[in-house]
């Protein structure tokens, strides 16, 4: 593994500040550090509102970074680019276009010099991968949420991104469909070795899908709490993972992290507030002294 592969995505001190109603900048995410190796699947878990989507959209280039830096393959990036594809909880398909055309829309942009036949093959290949070979002519309204999400996944992966960013991609699906789609994605990622960041609320999903799990602390000033290396070999069989005697050590570690964060929420918010107020009054004093 060369240097760029072992530090394929480099997130350094990523910080996002939003102004609050009183005109103060509140750092919702602060000094988030993580390095992803090429082909790695990293899941991010943390309480609702802690800043997971904020991190993901900054990495996607859809949300300006307040400070810190982001590099893909050793090149610093700012703003969105074809190297990174995003799938959100709802796939945002264009309702007046068929499944096939929804995927083709991206493929046309991504392969402007490809022949019509080549583009057609790409669309069909990826729709086939996600199990939609028979539904290419259907419109979004004619499909279930799970099927629509499959289209969203095919559309993202057909762009041949170097980095795939998934924000709770299965959040709205029932658990059977969810498990189905986890396997669809894992199968594709095992073939294509796309470096992936996936946000999830489901600890079992995090353990089953990822090489690493990044646990985020609560906001404000949310950051990496710890990273767990998941030792189960890929490709994985769900049953093997569940049968591993250490599966419950992992599950327990994730749940107790989340519980502890929850218990500490109020005191954390109070502590940050107090620190910001102290900093505020310090600057006030400086101002009056000047």
């Amino acid at each position: 593994m060369n240097r760029h592969d072992s530090r394929y995505v480099e997130i350094a001190n990523l910080t996002k500040a939003y102004p609050n109603p009183f005109g103060h900048d509140i750092e919702v995410v602060k000094d988030f550090n993580m390095i992803l190796r090429k082909g790695e699947i990293v899941s991010v878990i943390g309480h609702s509102g802690c800043g997971k989507s904020t991190v993901l959209t900054m990495v996607a280039g859809l949300n300006p970074i307040s400070s810190g830096s982001l590099a893909v393959q050793g090149r610093e990036v700012s703003g969105p680019g074809p190297d990174r594809a995003v799938v959100f909880q709802s796939p945002c398909l264009l309702p007046w276009m068929s499944t096939y055309d929804n995927v083709m829309l991206g493929v046309k942009q991504c392969y402007p010099h490809g022949s019509k036949q080549q583009r057609k093959e790409i669309c069909e290949y990826y729709l086939n991968l996600v199990g939609l070979a028979d539904s290419m002519k259907r419109f979004p309204r004619e499909m279930s949420g799970g099927m629509q999400q499959r289209v969203g996944i095919a559309r993202a992966i057909a762009l041949k991104p170097q980095v795939l960013l998934l924000d709770e991609p299965f959040g709205r699906l029932d658990s059977l469909t969810r498990m189905d789609l986890q396997d669809v994605i894992l199968d594709i990622l095992d073939r294509e070795r796309i470096t992936t960041m996936v946000i999830t609320h489901d600890v079992d999903e995090a353990i089953y899908m990822s090489d690493r799990i990044c646990m985020m602390t609560n906001g404000p000033e949310a950051t990496v709490g710890q990273i767990l290396d998941v030792p189960f070999q890929r490709p994985r069989l769900r049953q093997d993972v569940l049968d591993d005697p250490h599966y419950y050590d992992f599950r327990f570690a994730l749940i107790s992290f989340l519980e502890k964060q929850e218990r500490a929420k109020d005191s954390h918010v109070a502590e940050v507030k107090q620190r910001l107020n102290a900093a505020d009054s310090a600057t006030d004093q400086q101002v009056t002294r000047v």
Binding site: N33, I35, G225, I227, V230, P231, D249, A253, S256, R263
Partner: protein, 313 residues
Amino acid sequence: MTTATQDHPPSMTATTNCLIRYIEIWVPGNDGSVVLESARVVDADCLRALTPQITTFQLGEGLIGSAVKQRSPVIFQDLPSTDLQRVRDQSGVPVTAMLAFPVYLEDRLINVIAVGLVDGDGAAEIWTRDDRDELSVSGSIYRGLDSFEYMSQHVRFPKGAGLPGYCWKFGVPKMLSDPGTNPNFIRSFDRDRAALTSVVGLPISRSYGYPESILLLMSSQSIPLANYAAVLKVDAALPEDDAPFPPITVTSIENSSQEDDDIDWQQTAVDQMAACGSCCLIDEEALCGGFKGVVAIPFTKKGRVDRAVLLAF
């Protein structure tokens, strides 16, 4: 060899009830060697001085020489180990693990501190940076913490995360009480027999911001590592070479193993440390707040002596 422990039965009373039962302080000699300055056994009523046979180690030799060469703490726990045997024989204490760590003032090695641990629940971990700038456990000893031990080998802390990441980011030692409920202690040990009661993180560092490693010492409810531990905020300029420190004022007790702990004898311990210009061992009860003895360890940050860690017995 094995009769040595029987010749000097270790005194086991409530007051010796801590995991660290043996202490050595080493100083750098010429040509990379390290020379013994003092060796003490934690006995029931005193820190008993010893005159061991081996008083010099070369760079890389044994536990002490390895700590200097690797610029990192080293833990030996597997018998037969000549270092463990050496200490068991000469002290009569049934140590089952030895831990040594170098202490630097900026880039200057001032001491190696070695401690011998007897059996009992608790843990020590050495965290070092890997190729993606994350800390992982590179050496450890765990007792009564099976699940914690298993998970810890899979845990990585980037700069700023967890206690090791804190010590790295801020370049200071840090003590956390009540790690079970303290949100700054990230890992969980609820599945294990040992209930951790406090954790001390010590950055082993020769230049600010780039620690060679972080040492974590963890006490359990059944037996603490030392009878008293504290991180003190202090402030003084760093002297040149091996001159004594200027007077060092303890500005506050950042954290200690005692509730409502006020600055008292701790200032005396720090005064002694300042006079030595390095780690020091004080064994007069009158100077140690009723403890049998105390080891004071200085830590620097950005050219100043900024913290002192006390371990008392």
